[in-house]
């Protein structure tokens, strides 16, 4: 499986949208403030539907909110 790192721009997008609070964003996409905080800190990866909802709230494409970067494969590891 390809390992990767999921990052997001939720915090900066919130501030660009009238300093929207985590609670306000959570209410609009149907999750708690704590879940938004966990998403922002990268400790929780949202479902695809929640991710689309976040993008919809900010009016931007999904890729402007969430980014996924593949980790470099370990060059020392060899598979037969």
């Amino acid at each position: 499986m390809i390992e990767g790192i999921l990052s997001n721009q939720i915090r900066s997008l919130r501030f660009q949208h009238g300093e929207m609070t985590q609670s306000q964003l959570g209410e609009r996409i149907g999750v708690t403030r704590q879940t938004i905080a966990a998403m922002e800190s990268g400790k929780y990866a949202p479902s695809l539907e929640a991710a689309f909802r976040v993008a919809h709230v900010f009016g931007v494409p999904l890729v402007e909110v969430f980014q996924w970067e593949a980790c470099r494969p370990n060059e020392d590891r060899r598979t037969d």
Partner: protein
């Protein structure tokens, strides 16, 4: 702290402070295997009722202090719940195999009753413990 994490802490605490002393007492002075054993039944009833009272009072307190917080689980709550139930199910399955399929060949009466209760309590502790850890890890 999310509402559901508070509920998990409450359930975990109530379980530990009621059934913890019950099982310590059972380990120190194991009950006889005769049935019914009114003294043992009374001890079990005290533990169960104490847990009920603690949970009731705790829920009322949480309801009062958590006004405005969503009580419905969101997707992260559900993911944490699913994971914790999976762990608890494993513990309960192993426990029930031991109690129901192994212990009857060597024990009986209250030994089996208390072993079954212990496995249920262990499964619940694992369940709520995993919920708490889940919130700590994904918070």
């Amino acid at each position: 702290m999310p509402y559901r994490e508070k509920v998990a802490w409450l359930s975990l605490t109530a379980m530990m402070v009621t059934f913890g002393p019950y099982f310590v007492a059972v380990a120190i002075s194991p009950p006889g295997d005769e049935l019914p054993n009114i003294q043992q039944l009374r001890a079990l009833a005290v533990a169960a009722l104490s847990q009920l009272v603690l949970l009731g009072a705790g829920y009322l307190y949480l309801r009062r202090t958590s006004r405005g917080e969503s009580k419905l689980p969101d997707e992260r709550d559900q993911a944490i719940s699913r994971r914790s139930i999976r762990y608890a199910y494993g513990v309960l399955t192993v426990g029930m195999i031991v109690v129901g399929c192994v212990m009857p060949f060597s024990s009986g009466g209250w030994t089996i009753v208390n072993a079954a209760l212990l496995m249920i309590v262990l499964a619940e502790v694992v369940h709520y413990g995993a919920v708490v850890l889940g919130y700590r890890r994904y918070a």
